[in-house]
Symmetry: D3
Subunit: 224 residues, 6 copies
Amino acid sequence: MKLVVKVTGKFFDAEGDKSQLSSSIRSLVQEGHRVALVTGGGATARRYISLGRSLNLNEASLDLLGIWVARLNAFLMAMSMPDLAYARIPESLEQFLEYWGHGKVVVVGGFQPGQSTAAVSALVAEAISADYLIMVTTVEGVFDSDPKKNPNARFLPRVTTTQLRSILESTQSVKAGTYELLDPMAMKIVERSRIRVIVTSVDKIGKLARIIKGEETASIVEPV
Amino acid sequence: MKLVVKVTGKFFDAEGDKSQLSSSIRSLVQEGHRVALVTGGGATARRYISLGRSLNLNEASLDLLGIWVARLNAFLMAMSMPDLAYARIPESLEQFLEYWGHGKVVVVGGFQPGQSTAAVSALVAEAISADYLIMVTTVEGVFDSDPKKNPNARFLPRVTTTQLRSILESTQSVKAGTYELLDPMAMKIVERSRIRVIVTSVDKIGKLARIIKGEETASIVEPV
Amino acid sequence: MKLVVKVTGKFFDAEGDKSQLSSSIRSLVQEGHRVALVTGGGATARRYISLGRSLNLNEASLDLLGIWVARLNAFLMAMSMPDLAYARIPESLEQFLEYWGHGKVVVVGGFQPGQSTAAVSALVAEAISADYLIMVTTVEGVFDSDPKKNPNARFLPRVTTTQLRSILESTQSVKAGTYELLDPMAMKIVERSRIRVIVTSVDKIGKLARIIKGEETASIVEPV
Amino acid sequence: MKLVVKVTGKFFDAEGDKSQLSSSIRSLVQEGHRVALVTGGGATARRYISLGRSLNLNEASLDLLGIWVARLNAFLMAMSMPDLAYARIPESLEQFLEYWGHGKVVVVGGFQPGQSTAAVSALVAEAISADYLIMVTTVEGVFDSDPKKNPNARFLPRVTTTQLRSILESTQSVKAGTYELLDPMAMKIVERSRIRVIVTSVDKIGKLARIIKGEETASIVEPV
Amino acid sequence: MKLVVKVTGKFFDAEGDKSQLSSSIRSLVQEGHRVALVTGGGATARRYISLGRSLNLNEASLDLLGIWVARLNAFLMAMSMPDLAYARIPESLEQFLEYWGHGKVVVVGGFQPGQSTAAVSALVAEAISADYLIMVTTVEGVFDSDPKKNPNARFLPRVTTTQLRSILESTQSVKAGTYELLDPMAMKIVERSRIRVIVTSVDKIGKLARIIKGEETASIVEPV
Amino acid sequence: MKLVVKVTGKFFDAEGDKSQLSSSIRSLVQEGHRVALVTGGGATARRYISLGRSLNLNEASLDLLGIWVARLNAFLMAMSMPDLAYARIPESLEQFLEYWGHGKVVVVGGFQPGQSTAAVSALVAEAISADYLIMVTTVEGVFDSDPKKNPNARFLPRVTTTQLRSILESTQSVKAGTYELLDPMAMKIVERSRIRVIVTSVDKIGKLARIIKGEETASIVEPV
């Protein structure tokens, strides 16, 4: 299968071992899948954006700083898999497609200002006609309300994009940004190209191979 | 001033003289402005997208075909001003910024799938902290309803983005696509970076220098 | 075998299905051949050249416009074979050689002003030491006079470059341009590198695998 | 004059205003100098190198991670001077020379593994035949012993490379790394091309224009 | 004026001072002209082509070797004018046009197999709408027969391309290659774009500014 | 195994057959090794550096001229193995790593001023975690003194980097440059990444496969 794995920038904030992610990607490749990996920027991105703001950078430049940090995380992961991963981080979707043609894991940080890492991963998934877009977030999956605020929030193993949109919009307390889920641009692409999205937690980052087999708890978002 | 001029792809559909646009850009440069030009794809883009669809291309590839045609139009205009324009069409915002630094007119077709030419021009305007984004469309400006359907549609010389959003949403018969105006992504960028947008018609493409002086009828959209 | 397939721009003028070409290339690859595809620009190229002329572009720029359109056709075909074709269209022979090294089908539009698509395909064939250069044209093969003007024109299944040159030169009514065959530059390269050329018609574009086996009528031009 | 300013990565570790550097560069440009700026990686570089080490990256890849962070700092500074600085960070000396030719401030992070930022700045200074290489470090200048350990360390306003080498070698407690001064490669280049080096402290980063006029305390290293 | 200066590779064969060429280009620039310089490969090119032939390289690769050496000569000259010349040698006409837009002297070696340096310089002259293409050859200008064989060969101060073609063709003993003059491709471009060609000798390489004023003996080839 | 073969520029000075090197690389590849080849510049490099010096080029530019010639030699060898070698010569270590990822032989000339071809080959060896760096020099291996001056010089089949450093330093008459062995930068990289170096003579260039099996006399330098 063709898989896009999108990992929250928070994964790179914590100290300690990042090899769970490399190992997990390696397992997917060994099982015969082709994998694109998209990394967020996390706290380092926010720190540089803050430095940039004190230097009066405009919004486009601030976004570019965040993209640079996301690419730094991408480069870290690429270097950790020198036999599997393409050694360059693409700067645009066209470059991504060129690199992808070489048959390797391609690791992506970001492409341009004005779009979230979620949108980038949706664009990548669309461009390669991916079977799944796996979003590795800070929550276990999709809930009917914010699990951090509502102890009775119900986990949803399967949800349509329509339902997801309605959850995100109706629940005042749940912002897309908080969830790191599908912003409008990502949603639009997922729907128009009917990309199936799996939402899982960074705690399970070492078990991606099990997740796509449905052997680990995760939510599946079906485009409608 | 720093100006972004966005020209509808329809301008390139018609046969005949395209030199009104080059001359108009030349006048702006001669008056001391710096100019970025963004071109749409028009009917040729649609024809290639249709050929692509019959070849079962995915949505990303179809968008890329449209972008190639928009870049072809961009290249045509760049070649028509060899002394003023940068000889390469940028493939990403980062490339655009590099070319822009050389002090020339930079002509842009498009950057990546999933975004309109309007969004591209908003991104460009944000990145250079443009004074105005001039959208050369098929209508004379912003109306309170679709002038093609409603003979009493009232022309609005000045409108806020909030008002514009409300017009676009409330009027069933007016789709953003029809208007070629601000889609959600363009709107988001225009608002977050407070970019002033001028909406004018392709009939006035030879009078851009007059338009920014307010000497020709046009609508101004103020971000709020 | 290593094959270069050159397709007349006219193929892209007609509406309707272009998948015959993709399928035909796919068959060649499946039979173990390596394939480079060179596409012409056709009517869209002529339209843009005409627009350029009305903008007073110089000859080099006009040729570049035609090359851009040929590359657009190349990109269309590359996107129709995402698993087989390299995702970038080379801008020079050196880029072509780099892309070719990746083992994929490389699709080429054109390289530089002042040379025909025939010359481009001869350059490509020489650079990869191709076994055959297959020219898919608007005629069935080489005739001893122009079949469109002379109902008694005799089809030549086998012809030397010397004979071909003499036919092209002696027959006033037959211009190289009309035939889309070997112009002087293409001829020079074909001869110096002893490249065998097959001339066939766009009607047989779906049967390229049969043509190289000699199972379809076509002319072979032998360099001397 | 042509100036290379090399800023220790520690400058980017501290929170707070970085505009002193941009302003200082701007003053130099306004006084008619051409400026190249070289930035170190600092604590963020060390953090990523540590993450990389836990992922078993080889030394070359670890150095590349540090270079990426230095380039991130370079990009931050370039974006803070959009009218003065080239919008791309060069990846090699050849790219640097190309960018430098455009007449702008070029900001450099690093070029390749196995060399210090000091060596990078010496290479840049040599390539442009710089009048001065200004090293903005964590100490006020060159001392005859480590001022942090020896309260009687004597400040040297003028020193030859021979003397400097002897100080660095003879004083056990003073490592080149600590000083962030001239490692052997930097020294070799400074000597062979007779580049004059000014050593000053990050506390005076806002006064670079005064430093090159000799109006602020700093050490000058003369090549011999 | 816009000038293309093409210098025979033989100029680089001799030891000794090459600064006459740099100085001459500098004078042209100081008089307000824009200059592109095209260099041949000479004996070093022939030596590498011979090494390549013993390694069984194909014709395209042999031509590329010659082009590399021509680019080496180009790079030598570019480095000798660091303040005037673009620091990169273009690999294609499109790259040339991009570099040319920066307002500097651009030095060119060659573009692709199958074409002479004369053709390259004609392409460059056409692309920038040059006022003159100055060919610095091993002969003083155009003669009505080969001056090396015929002591009565008559020098022609002014000749049309038609006359030149007839001289080159009719005189058995005069090969285009010997003359390093206009081969068919160069001739075609010169004629279609009506480029005026000045033919002069390498002995006058220090007097290019005088030559374009007509103050030195040289032949002018007028396109018809 | 992963191997880096570094060949002295002198190999390219002599006329005659260079196919021993291609054949030797081919054998290594056929035995399942991955190979990077680094070529020196030799006499042609020195000639161009001398031309450059008479043109008053600075040291950085002179080094770049030498690098260009080394790349020319690299290109010659790459073109002699079109099926095995990557068709582009990398300009930086980052480009090298990208090309290396494609699974082909990558041929390298040089990267930047201020470093020897030995240092380049050590950088390459470190970046790919090579098993051996094979230095093909003008001497048979490491001796305890200069064999050209001392007839009793003793051949050392195995030597540590510490011993080698002591030999190079203590023997006045033996300069690193003469030996074309490990200069300080190369030494530093070899030691920090514990790269095993084999030193052999250009006379055995056809027997590289035997050398790595220990079937030919050569010195091994062990990092300590």
